[in-house]
Amino acid sequence: MEITLGLAALKLVGYGLATFGPGLGIGIACYGCCMATARQPELQGRLFTNFIIGAALAEALGLIGFVLAFIV
């Protein structure tokens, strides 16, 4: 059986790979945010803001992968 990977399929594989890092990164950031909030609930607002900034930075890589899948 002959398997051919077209450009469209490769784009999807590339996007899938691109989501791997940001997924891990956001998971770790969320873990840290939850732990810190459990220890010091009164800082919740500022911790959550910092979490959002970090998640946005990590997510940027995944989003670039998403855009590249459209462009290339």
């Binding site: 959002i52 997510e59 855009v67």
Partner: protein, 261 residues
């Protein structure tokens, strides 16, 4: 196998139904379905806020007014005061406008038959560029043109590292416009695509069962519709969360641009 072939044919049709198409006119004067729903969302936002502000009383006694006031309070406290800090009050009108518009756009898209304006990348690019210009304008206004450019590199770095860090920070600042736009678009578009696929799968399996008068074939449809309901609940959460994330990121960027490190 008949049902699966039907499904992949329907999926093609579904993908094309997300392309923006003219409903009135064409070219520069045309009105695509996304523009049409965007105008409806704008009118809805203005009407909701104006009606609520007309009926403001010292002691809230109206559920609708109470709801809008709660939303405004949420923007003011969680998205204004916490990330921006000192001098947050002059940014509240901008942030509240962004939040209410995106929230109403996202929720309008969840009503079957309606389109979400934020599911089109042109709308989200427009919103992201407005936000990008706004925080750069305030950064330049607070620190001056040269001071704002200098403030990209945090103070206290070794001299050798300053150009490298400055360049990276400049790059990530320019990337903010892209990520704001693509995050909102990607979440709304992908969410609606998933809902569409699940809805399509349900209808395809039920149609196949009716045509063949074979009710065992209808069993997968039960699973699909259960998935559809779960995803719909998730989409309600995502619709709110994306409006929140867009607004709070704009607030954080304003805060970073105007604060002195």
């Amino acid at each position: 196998m008949d049902a699966l072939a039907e499904l992949s044919k329907g999926a093609d049709h579904l993908v094309h139904s997300f392309d923006s198409a003219y409903i009135v006119g064409s070219g520069a004067f045309g009105l695509t379905q996304y523009t049409f729903w965007m105008i409806i969302c704008l009118i809805l936002t203005v009407v909701v806020v104006l009606v609520a502000s007309k009926r403001l009383t010292l002691v809230p006694n109206n559920k609708f007014v109470n709801m809008v006031e709660y939303g405004y309070q949420f923007v003011r406290k969680d998205m204004g005061e916490d990330p921006i800090g000192h001098g947050y009050k002059k940014h509240i009108p901008f942030l509240a406008t962004l939040f209410f518009f995106i929230l109403i756009s996202n929720f309008v898209g969840l009503i079957p038959g309606c389109k979400t304006p934020t599911g089109s990348i042109s709308v989200t690019w427009a919103l992201a560029i407005i936000s990008f210009v706004y925080f750069n304008y305030w950064g330049i206004k607070t620190k001056g043109g040269l001071g704002y450019l200098k403030s990209f590199a945090p103070s206290g770095l070794p001299v050798v590292m300053v150009p490298v860090v400055w360049f990276l920070e400049l790059f990530s600042t320019i990337l903010r416009a892209l990520t704001l736009a693509v995050r909102l678009y990607g979440n709304m578009f992908a969410g609606h695509m998933v809902l569409g696929i699940f809805g399509l799968a349900t209808s395809v399996f039920i149609t196949a069962a009716i045509q063949n008068a074979d009710f065992v074939m209808a069993l997968p449809a039960i699973g699909w519709i259960a998935f559809l309901l779960c995803m719909y609940a998730l989409e309600v959460l995502v619709a709110f969360l994306q409006a929140y994330v867009f607004t709070i990121l704009s607030a954080v960027y304003i805060g970073l641009a105007t604060s002195d490190h």
